[in-house]
């Protein structure tokens, strides 16, 4: 049908998969453009790893669906004949081969001549800032270096799609930051289509063109990182994005993106985040990020609540204050550093800083 326009890098249609009785993927729909960096996030068990394994060809969906890469149907092809390359969570570098031989491997199995594959491996290692390490053994490398070798090994085959399985999973914080920037830069330079899977919110927000939130095998939201963070369509997505202060109620007025929610403790205003327009009378949730709560709120905070301080931790840039309210524990990050334990405090947030969405849907 789409023979005139170039087909997208990846099309997934109603892909379903189950392990015995347990549903891993439930009619997943996905389309990825060429050169896009798509991140699939979700808690463990949400099906993100199954999806990645199906894309690479290690598993075949057993509940139907279609999978096309560059417009070509892929489900019948074994992994070695798919134009994708994976950077595995624990890198899966070949321990009996040197760094150079690892990087060359994808070319060696394609029958590329030795001098040519040497040159291309050297180039890939150069890009990954590991020039001249060809002779090293894998066991001699640090975690960060292993990850770079895994990237070089995957990139040297010039895949249509690069799959990253929890690429930062095994690295510690400072290395993570450095590599996030590096992967982003690399992807922009080479123009490769990248699909990564992670359970880390920071990485997902920082690195992606687009974010897909999976939950129990279903796509909960598929949008830009900003949209997912600022307009999470479900309570689950809001919680996953760190908007952990939540309450539920009944939507009472809706107009122009601004809605209100009626709870046992009064009415609260916020930005509408549902997929469909808000309908007064339906159940809704309100979610707000801990950083957006303010103690001793002024008039600008149209939403106000009272809570007893359970614990207050110093955290450097601010304190993390746990407030017991009638909606459960609310957490505020506040610049106010005094000891507050046990006191009853008023706190609030602006309508612009909080989202209200549909509780019934999905």
């Amino acid at each position: 049908m789409d023979q005139t326009t170039p087909s997208p890098a990846l099309q997934v249609e109603r892909l379903s998969h189950a392990y015995g009785q347990v549903t891993a993927l439930d009619a997943v729909e996905l389309a990825v453009d060429r050169g896009e960096l798509l991140t699939i996030v979700g808690p463990s068990g949400s099906g993100k790893t199954s999806l990645l394994r199906i894309l690479a060809g290690f598993e075949t969906p057993n509940r139907g669906g279609r999978l096309r890469i560059g417009g070509k149907d892929m489900l019948d092809l074994p992994p070695d004949r798919r134009p994708v390359a994976t950077v595995f969570q624990h890198y899966a570098l070949f321990p009996h081969l040197s760094v150079g031989e690892n990087v060359e491997y994808g070319l060696r199995v394609r029958g590329v001549s030795r001098p040519q594959r040497r040159a291309r491996a050297a180039e890939a290692l150069e890009i990954m800032r590991l020039p001249g390490r060809e002779a090293r053994r894998i066991g001699q490398l640090s975690g960060g270096e292993r990850q770079r070798v895994a990237f070089a090994r995957a990139l040297v085959t010039e895949p249509d799609i690069l799959l990253l399985d929890e690429p930062m999973g095994a690295l510690d914080e400072p290395l993570r930051r450095a590599l996030e920037a590096e992967i982003r830069g690399l992807q922009r330079t080479l123009g490769t289509t990248v699909i990564q899977v992670t359970h880390g919110r920071e990485e997902a927000l920082a690195m992606s063109d687009r974010l897909v939130v999976l939950r129990a095998g279903r796509v909960e939201q598929d949008a830009t990182p900003r949209t997912v963070f600022e307009r999470p369509v479900t309570r689950f997505v809001a919680g996953f994005m760190g908007l952990t202060n939540q309450m539920t109620g009944r939507i009472v007025s809706a107009g122009n993106g601004q809605v209100s929610i009626e709870t046992a403790s009064g009415r609260f205003d916020g930005q509408w985040s549902g997929a469909a327009p808000a309908r007064p009378g339906t159940h809704g949730f309100l979610a707000v990020h801990p950083e957006k709560l303010r103690l001793d709120p002024d008039g600008a905070c149209s939403n106000q609540l009272e809570g007893r301080v359970v614990q207050a931790f110093y955290q450097g840039l601010g304190s993390r204050i746990e407030l017991e309210t009638e909606f459960g524990v609310f957490i505020a990050i506040s610049g106010c550093n005094e000891s507050l334990g046990g006191t009853i405090n008023r706190f609030g947030w602006t309508a612009g800083d909080c989202v209200i969405g549909n509780l019934d849907a999905t």
Binding site: F58, D80, A92, F94, V109, R153, T157
Partner: protein, 259 residues
């Protein structure tokens, strides 16, 4: 901790002494003037020269090496197949592994007898080279399998996924990734096969037919108390030195390639 260390070290030394003193003693006897007295002394190479001119041991040695090589090859192939397959099975894994290992519990002479009866009458195999190979294989296989399972049960199947992902065909994955990584187990299986076949006696007694292996030859010569016994001392000193050197070389080579 210091006393524990002392106990461990002196215990180890004791065991090694128990093993190696007889070996050294045999070596000394083989160059002694009166080996049959059981006491070394009076260095001479006369027995080695006699061994070189006596050719009786050559045909048994060749038979033994041929059989041991066949057994080693069979053990490597069978242990590779079973060692790769077993960790992938779920329910059948434990019972099948047990079934493979159980022949260890059957006395060698019994096995020999049974193999004789079974191979001869049921499977219709004539006694000789192949009955020796098969009975030695049945004896050595459990050990070869254990050696293989130690390696395959730790094998990271993610590496095969990674190779497939990079475009390697099943054949390439097997030869370029799996085989090199399973090499320690494979070499172990081969060594067990070779050594256990090369030194096997009780089964051979029953299933050898017209073929004489080196252990059979040794045994026949040694138990007859003939004048050939000093030559047996020489032959076995040589065999011990050779098989030790070969094992050390093989394991050393393996250590280097897998580092």
């Amino acid at each position: 901790m210091a006393t524990l260390r002392f106990v461990l070290l002196s215990g180890s030394a004791g065991i090694l002494l128990l093993i190696y003193v007889p070996v050294l003693w045999l070596a000394l006897l083989s160059v002694g003037a009166e080996p049959l007295s059981g006491l070394p002394g009076g260095f001479t190479t006369v027995w080695y020269l006699a061994l070189a001119s006596n050719r009786n041991w050559v045909q048994p040695a060749i038979s033994s090496i041929e059989i041991a090589l066949c057994v080693a090859l069979l053990c490597m192939l069978a242990a590779l197949a079973a060692g790769r397959g077993l960790p992938r099975m779920r329910r059948a894994r434990v019972p099948i592994t047990l079934a493979f290992l159980l022949p260890l519990g059957i006395p060698g002479t019994v096995t020999g007898l049974m193999l004789f009866a079974g191979y001869r009458f049921v499977l219709g195999i004539h006694m000789g080279f192949w009955s020796l190979v098969l009975s030695h294989f049945v004896w050595a296989f459990p050990f070869a399998l254990i050696s293989m399972l130690v390696v395959t049960s730790r094998f990271d199947h993610g590496l095969l996924d990674a190779a497939a992902d990079l475009g390697a065909s099943p054949r390439q994955r097997f030869w370029q990734i799996e085989c090199p990584l399973l090499m320690p187990g494979l070499v172990g299986a081969g060594l067990f096969g070779f050594l256990l076949s090369f030194t096997e006696l009780p089964r051979s007694i029953f299933v050898s037919g017209a073929i004489q292996t080196l252990p059979l030859f040794n045994w026949a010569e040694a138990s007859t108390q003939s004048s050939q016994v000093p030559l047996i001392f020489c032959l076995n000193t040589l065999l011990t030195v050779l098989s030790t050197a070969a094992s050390v070389a093989m394991i050393g080579l393996l250590g280097r390639t897998t580092r």
